[in-house]
Amino acid sequence: MTAVRRFLSGGWLPSYAFLYVLFLYLPVIFLPIFSINTAATPKFPLSGFTLHWYEDLPRTPALLDAAWNSLIVGVSAAVLSTVLGILAARSITRYRYPGRRTINGLIMAPLVLPEVIVAISMLLVMLQLGLSLSLFTVVLGHVLVCIPYSMTVLTSGFEGFDRSLEEASADLGESAFGTFRRVTLPMVAPAIISSLLVCFTISLDEFIIAFFLTGTEATLPIYIWGQLRFAAKLPGVLALGTLLLVASFLLMTIAEILRRRAARRTQNEGGLYA
């Protein structure tokens, strides 16, 4: 009986939470550990410390090409989806019109669609349109999967934007453009930067759509996929993976901080402190 009572009292919850986090992140922790191991095969016990695998990375031309491709795709996808996201988020948060919720739902849908299916459908459409597969088609694919994220970040930044702020600016003599520059933009800038970072990160890490839609040019995840065929290349892949992991983690953290700042700015209005 006491065991049941203890179970019901929830005293086990901290241990459960600990195991849960361990299960999630243990594999991720192995990555950096094996990437600084001298042995070429990832197994314990570790044989010695080296930064050799990292030093090799910049000396691999194929990897540099892939990194460059990823950068181009990432930046393009981030800019495009953020611009489209701004328009959509502004419309959804600012105006009331029939079908608003449906449109919002449709924009968010790629989040839950199976990525393989999305990738195959996009491939079919691109080929039907007569587009030859290239980084450009990858960008289009990435925009589709990035927009839901961009929308989420931007709507939370735009939501509750007090319209009277823009009116106050006009009232104080500022022109429409001046109001946009001095009030609207600074207030939503953190959300916009946050959206750019999130989209860039998603694009940087995305594999399936890039795999289907790219021609001969590989992005980083595709390069990694290709390298996995060679056992000797594994430590290098681990080192590269570690770098990607760190970069993604940093970008997402910065993005989240900015998103929260934007949300605070727009929502802490009115006489809340009266």
């Binding site: 007090d162 009116e167 104080l172 700015r265 402190y273 009266a274």
Partner: protein, 372 residues
């Protein structure tokens, strides 16, 4: 000590805002219906009414955030048609205060001055002066998020006043504050308006706020202006039952018109008998019936053997205690509704038992005739 702006202190009779037959329709719905009004220079003017009466619509049209679908508005003798909000000689204190959250207090107040590109230390001097006017000296570097509601309100005021507008528009500026702070700000706003001499136009749904602060009040219902007058006149001589009701308690008594001439009315009532009263300017006769009104505090309890020239007798049916005053509900033979009486507690009105027969004194001057 910075030099105070040289603005005409005293109120003049020169019109500052002229609103002529202004209508604002949204399809078939008229938010404002043929409203005409003149607001004088240096006046503290209030637009008073329940929500949806058109007062905010009118204020926003003066500011330039909305445009009339008919009629015209001029400010300082200049027609406002086609002039956008950013080029009007008006500034507004918003209900939400609309403090720019990414700027500190000083930057908020200096926002409108930046465009003027003032020479030397003029901008800084004017910001300091505005902050001093609203008692925020020394808080210039604070962020908007670090301010209390009352302080935000002061920033909003300073930000508008620093522009030295011809007219300051205030959209329910005190509604977000708690009662005590609100009452304190009413006094301060009034004092500030007297000091700077700028025409203030206040929108409010709070009758006490309007009565306490204004030189004149326009009471509005359903997009129409019902009455424009001084607080005292609005309170004592409401033109109709709606206005009377909106400005605090009023006892209504049915009356029969016996005689009507240019300045006065003689009516017969049950309870008050035959009464001769001033005829209100806006009185429109509607058959032989009229309504008389008397405020609860204009009925006084007569103690013991005291007598008055005009009195009515009745019986206390309810008693409600409010600290400094007591509210008595008194049934008068012949009146369909019992009278509300407000009596101060210094003579023991709070001890009158329910069921007591009492006599009430009144001044026939306090009986006001109104259109139904």
């Amino acid at each position: 000590m910075p030099e105070q702006p040289q603005v005409e202190r005293s109120q003049s009779d020169r019109p500052m805002i002229e609103i002529r037959n202004v209508t604002r329709s949204y399809g078939a719905f008229k938010a404002l219906d043929d409203a005409s009004l003149t607001i004088k220079e240096g006046e503290f003017f209030s637009l008073l009414g329940p929500s949806g009466c058109g007062k905010t619509t009118l204020l926003r049209m003066i500011a330039g955030f909305d445009n009339p679908t008919g009629g015209s508005i001029s400010v300082g003798g200049q027609p406002m048609e086609g002039i956008p909000a950013n080029r009007r000689p008006t500034n507004m204190v918003f209900q939400s205060y609309a403090i720019f959250p990414h700027l500190n207090v000083e930057q908020n107040v200096a926002y409108g001055l930046k465009r003027l590109k003032l020479q030397g230390g003029e901008e800084k001097r004017r910001v300091e002066e505005a902050l001093a006017q609203v008692s925020l000296t020394g808080l210039g570097k604070r962020l908007a998020t670090e301010l209390s509601g009352g302080q935000r309100q002061r920033v909003a005021l300073a930000r508008a006043l620093v522009m030295r507008p011809k007219v300051l528009l205030l959209d329910e500026p005190l509604s977000a504050l708690d009662k005590k702070l609100r009452e304190q700000m009413q006094v301060e706003l009034r004092r500030l308006q007297q000091a700077v001499g700028i025409t203030f136009v206040l929108v409010t749904h709070d009758q006490y706020e309007a009565l306490a602060m204004s030189d004149r009040i326009a009471v509005m219902f359903g997009g129409k202006i019902a009455q424009v007058a001084s607080p005292k006149e609005i309170y004592q001589r409401p033109v109709n039952r709606q206005v009377a009701d909106f400005l605090g308690g009023m006892n209504f008594v049915k009356a029969e018109i016996v005689e009507e001439n240019g300045a006065s009315l003689v009516v017969d009532t049950l309870g008050f008998g035959r009464v001769k009263t001033d005829k209100p300017k806006a009185f429109v006769r509607n058959g032989g019936a009229a309504t008389l009104g008397i405020r609860p505090e204009r009925l006084r309890v007569l103690w013991d053997n005291a007598t008055a020239k005009f009195e009515v007798a009745g019986k206390v049916v309810e008693r409600h205690y409010f600290g400094e005053i007591t509210h008595l509900i008194v049934e008068i033979p012949g009146l369909e509704k019992p009278l509300s009486v407000t009596e101060t507690n210094d003579f023991g009105a709070d001890d009158i038992p329910v069921g007591t027969s009492i006599r009430l004194a009144y001044d026939p001057e306090a009986l006001v005739a109104m259109a139904d």
